[in-house]
Symmetry: C2
Subunit: 416 residues, 2 copies
């Protein structure tokens, strides 16, 4: 009989408990042993819960129970989660967490403490909710040199952007709709300003490149400035505006992580991922590219990922898996947004002649010897998918301004 | 230093060898130890190969080398691959294979032999090429009760169906194009008649439901009868014809695996998976649904999956993972196609009045109390996404025939 504990009985924690008892037989079969929830930590009282006898308000109850081998943290926030998990690891318990803020800020410390005490620290649920991404990236794709990751890692903003296109709503109306449906918080900044997606791309970047990437080092721009005109123009150009969290390997020593709205062509599956779904595109030298998509949040989707990790931790208690990164002395390996090389989406202030715009763009690409680029033009906007540097993009925009083709908005283009 | 051997130096085998030496440092880091290829088994001579000194024509060389702990089989076909892998397992070596025919026909025997000798038998590369699907299904989604899997598991047929839509080609012309590009064999039956997809859905079915499903038990229909008229009509109905390999859990004791062309609505991401890409949709009680997509074949994509398994096997040599199913005494748990409940796509022999068709369909659905079904009608065809039994579907078609609305083709509809 293997006992595990659950920290926090909120949405995710209660989902873990319910899911365990619902599919207990299957779960025990996969884990290879009988299992039981030993304790549930929460400061609140749940006198009517069927699990009332399992609740404790003190982490010591768990730390002092030698039968507990795995602890699943579903509290959220950095403290006291961090202190509790460090205490558990020091006692030789393996830990599992759905807490992206915690891993993005304290991952290196937790992983190194786990290693030191020969136990595991798993965090599949911290990125992409139900989507298996951490383990596939690190294990199944282990033979690849990963060159880039692009993802829709925040369901709330994807829902909003999608509603703007499908229902012709303004950003404000779509946000209100998301709040009414419970997809967005009353204070929506963590989602719409990109901070949530930023934490997740920090975790993926750290995992793939082996050094801890801190949220402060990552260029982060949300979707507040995206207008209905932008999403409409993108739609007419056979694409969609998506909040893309990405990380690109620039060379052996530098990576460029970023979160920002991008134009994504309908050639790419990511542009078709709608509603609250997330999607991660992984590029590697052997696989070319692979996509992982599913529900990025929610009670049971997240509980599924937590429980998958708990099973793995129960099954391989004392094996240390190499899902690991180190704390870097500096963040010099993280490039800034000025190093971004990408195509450009431009929406004009006023309608333009499409023949003229096309001629102008082709002349520019000719000059730059980028003639195999994809160009798409309407009278409201255009998109070029070509490797343009920041200087190139500025030059192009200056050229347009000179011709009185002023840009109402500019956006990077995700490579098709 | 951990030594592994490669059986077969064809496309996949040579890919594994090249990939190992290309990314050796990364691979060793993930495996947690230095690695080397001990032997390459192939009956042919490769005197100019940089690996010439590693070749052997006899499996005994490998069986008698006590330093070899893992063997990667990339030969294809059931024999001699089966005999060789059984011998390796009996010697306590872990085995990895990309051979879907072998696993679909002999998986239960190999897995049971591996278990008996406390070693691993991995086969991530056998389904979906580069796509991580076996391990995510079995590990990351372990806490779910899986209710259905739908997949595009054959890239050749997906390329053909896609070409028919995008370039308005007939099946024959699209097949010829696929052959010219090397995507289809001269003798294309394994692909176009659905046998390849059938083997893969057998593997996924066995894995998820725990009992070996044999290819002979699975209803299999290929794409030879799909006409340009069908793909065009599907496109006009906001969907696409895809060769779908699926398995649905009917109740606690029965599953229904099948391979057949289906109408897939553009509401579903699978309809957007084009060219030689594969995609697998997994439905579970906690995750709702998740998608996995990538290159389903090819030298390096397949080698990536094989090498990922080799790393896992090297890292956890003597651990037996529970990726396991048993040989069933009968195939009674496999339901036949007559139990299929699904919507219907009908293309008419001659153009029909859309108002009349719509009225007729709505009356029928009314009668069946299926009024929340999705109905889409053009003058050439219609699609209903509703849970219709075989008897329902026959009744509907009979009703149409009576009204002289004869069906030129019929197709099941994948639930959106």
């Amino acid at each position: 009989m293997k006992k595990f504990a659950v920290l926090g009985f909120g949405t995710v924690g209660s989902g873990v408990v319910e899911l365990f008892y619902k599919n207990r037989h299957k779960i025990e079969e996969k884990a290879g042993s009988e299992m039981e929830i030993g304790h549930i930590l929460d400061l609140r009282d749940f006198p009517d819960s069927p699990f009332a006898d399992k609740f404790t308000k003190s982490i010591d109850t768990i730390l002092n129970d030698p039968d507990v081998t795995v602890v699943a943290e579903c509290m959220g926030g950095v403290e006291p989660a961090f202190t509790f998990l460090m205490q558990c690891l020091e006692k030789g318990m393996s830990v599992v967490t759905s807490n992206k803020e915690l891993i993005a800020k304290k991952g290196a410390e937790l992983l190194s403490c786990a290693k030191e005490h020969s136990c595991n620290c798993f965090f599949e649920a911290s990125v992409g909710g139900a989507i298996p991404i951490i383990r596939p990236l690190h294990r199944c794709l282990a033979a690849n040199d990963i060159s880039a990751i692009y993802g829709i890692l925040n369901g709330t903003t994807n829902y909003i952007l999608n509603k703007m296109v499908s229902d012709g709503m303004s950003f404000d109306d779509a946000l209100k709709r998301a709040q009414d449906h419970g997809y967005a918080e009353r204070e929506p900044s963590a989602d719409v300003d990109g901070h949530d997606a930023c934490r997740k791309i920090c975790i993926l970047s750290s995992l793939v490149f082996g050094k801890h990437v801190y949220p402060e080092s990552v260029y982060t721009k949300g979707i507040r400035e995206i207008s209905l005109e932008d999403t409409t123009a993108a739609d007419e150009l056979d694409g969609a505006v998506k909040l893309i969290a990405s990380v690109v390997k620039l060379d052996e020593n530098r990576i460029l992580p970023a979160v920002m709205p991008m134009f994504v062509s309908h050639e790419n599956l990511i542009s078709r991922v709608d509603g609250v779904f997330n999607c991660v595109q992984v590029e590697g030298d052997a696989i070319d590219r692979a996509y992982f998509s599913g529900r990025g949040a929610g009670k049971f989707p997240t509980a599924s990922a937590v429980m998958g990790d708990v099973i793995e931790a129960v099954k391989h208690h004392k094996t240390v898996f190499s899902q690991f990164w180190v704390d870097a002395e500096t963040q010099d390996f993280v490039a800034g947004i000025e190093d971004l090389v990408c195509g450009l989406f431009v929406r004009f202030e006023t309608a333009q002649d499409t023949v003229e715009t096309t001629a102008l763009l082709n002349a520019y690409l000719d000059k730059k010897q980028l003639t195999d680029s994809v160009v798409n033009v309407t009278d409201a906007a255009f998109v070029i998918d070509a490797p343009l540097t920041a200087a190139d993009r500025k030059e192009l925009v200056d050229m347009l301004t000179e011709k009185d083709m002023k840009a109402a908005s500019l956006m990077p283009v995700m490579p098709a």
